[in-house]
Symmetry: C2
Amino acid sequence: MNEIRIEKSASLKPKPDASQLEFGKLFTDHMFLLDYSEELGWHDPRIVPYGPLTLDPASMILHYGQAVFEGLKAFRTSDNRILLFRPNKNAERLNVSNERLSIPEMDEAAFVEYVKALIAIDRDWVPSLEGTSLYIRPFIIATEPCLGVRAAKQYLFAIIMSPVGAYYKEGIHPVKINVENKYVRAVRGGTGFAKTAGNYASSIKAQEEAKHDGFSQVLWLDGKEHAYIEEVGSMNIFFKIGGEIVTPELNGSILAGVTRDSVIGLLKSWGYPVTERKISIEEIRRASEEGKLEEAFGTGTAAVISPVGQLHWEEHTMTINGGETGEIARRLYDTITGIQSGKLADSQGWNVVVE
Amino acid sequence: MNEIRIEKSASLKPKPDASQLEFGKLFTDHMFLLDYSEELGWHDPRIVPYGPLTLDPASMILHYGQAVFEGLKAFRTSDNRILLFRPNKNAERLNVSNERLSIPEMDEAAFVEYVKALIAIDRDWVPSLEGTSLYIRPFIIATEPCLGVRAAKQYLFAIIMSPVGAYYKEGIHPVKINVENKYVRAVRGGTGFAKTAGNYASSIKAQEEAKHDGFSQVLWLDGKEHAYIEEVGSMNIFFKIGGEIVTPELNGSILAGVTRDSVIGLLKSWGYPVTERKISIEEIRRASEEGKLEEAFGTGTAAVISPVGQLHWEEHTMTINGGETGEIARRLYDTITGIQSGKLADSQGWNVVVE
């Protein structure tokens, strides 16, 4: 790993009111950049003032979408330490995405060091208000100017950061979800398990239609049979059915969420086994009819836990736990946010301190 | 349509040797730009010197791949006219792609005018050597700086152009194709029918593996059953089986190629009906075994017609027409390239003259 070159911004932006933050709209004073070329590999790590990128209009990212990204958060504790939540998992997954998209592998330890170095420079941007955090967005784009369809020979790795407000301004609460039966997010053999730009572009239309119909997210079914549950919006999903906690198995079209992994780990440590398996929407409908659908919740970096109060699938409306947040969902939410913010003991060793 | 603002380049680049051109590496002196905002719609059409774009690192294209593009060609005739091949079809398809990706619709007549205006400025870049052309790349990218996953509110439409050499330097010749049985290009309900960046990113890995194994392209099967033929590389595909010409129907996961449409039109005008239907790879294998697989060829803007000499599927090797270019493929190639270059009469009214 080369030494990080640092060019500090001449003037710092005013810090925002932490109670008024919108997601991903405002960015910190600096950003991290790292180049890749065939000759030099990943090289020239540097922290520079946040500002526009200059891209040739033929840059391959703009035409063929060869790009991957990550998302993680840093938290300020009451004793003013800064904690990163499981950044090594993001480093690992970035390389899984890189491999699928034919992007060169990154050094995972270096990835974590780069994230820490950028936070250290902009540490005053980590907000302290309950529920707030600094959202960190590492991403890689193909920058080579060429219209041939193939893997690029030049890339840019960048990290930008944005202070974000509390996801639940009035406490955790359940949402209404529509089971998508027209659009498909991913299929086995495709890129569903990779965190690549194109997966998100292709999901926008379904989300828009669900919003228009009064739902907050879509529940994606598999692309092959339109029968099995995959993800909810851009989160993983868990159900509690007749006492058993289940979540779709990582089958090649589902993203391996860091929160998903944390939830499985916590539940196991509490003595609740989690079964990772195929779950059909018909199984969920039947469980609902029989009164056995006890909980449903999404898991992801943004919301941590997002309880599902109501599921709509074709002519069926399934209300879950009387439309209220379930006991497991609430305990998971309190525990994970408690660990992240340093209020609870980090018994799993998940936090990384930014010095 | 607003008037196009023109800022000419102060110095023009030297023109390349038309016999040495690589695809999509060298660009003309100017580019066309057009902005979109919610308040103004598509606005400020302008031709400016070719040069870098300045993008906020949070621009949505760089994270969520909300981008679509087109590809078409201009040709110089022996009497020095410049002909565009069916640009209205690209305008139509761009809007199909826009709709799927939640990008605002464009005026199709304006699209054609923009392409013509840019060619008119850089007309000296249209090469005249046999088989050469000017490749035109219109594209739209989401430029709004925001990390929320939703349709952007700001876009850039751009056109860049690149002189390209003859696809077949030594005459049209057949290629070896591998039938892909691990990776999937698209699935119904996804974005396969749209010309969006992410479709190409997800295809790179399979193409790399096929190249590594000595094939020039992959033949994609459907994502659901892995049984039906979809596309070859980034081309459509046609077969002649026992006298019948067939091509996969436009089923929601196949791109509606302009060359595909042109081929169907020509074949019909010659009295060869074309059946658009589901074609299984097993049907092709059986036809090959029975000696009925008479021709196979891909169709696309780059190669026009790309004859398939050999198909590999699992343990089966199918040699088609003795590995030689078939009669239909050659006639189609000669006719379409003849019309495009102005050597043959444009009986279909496909050419648009750039004044």
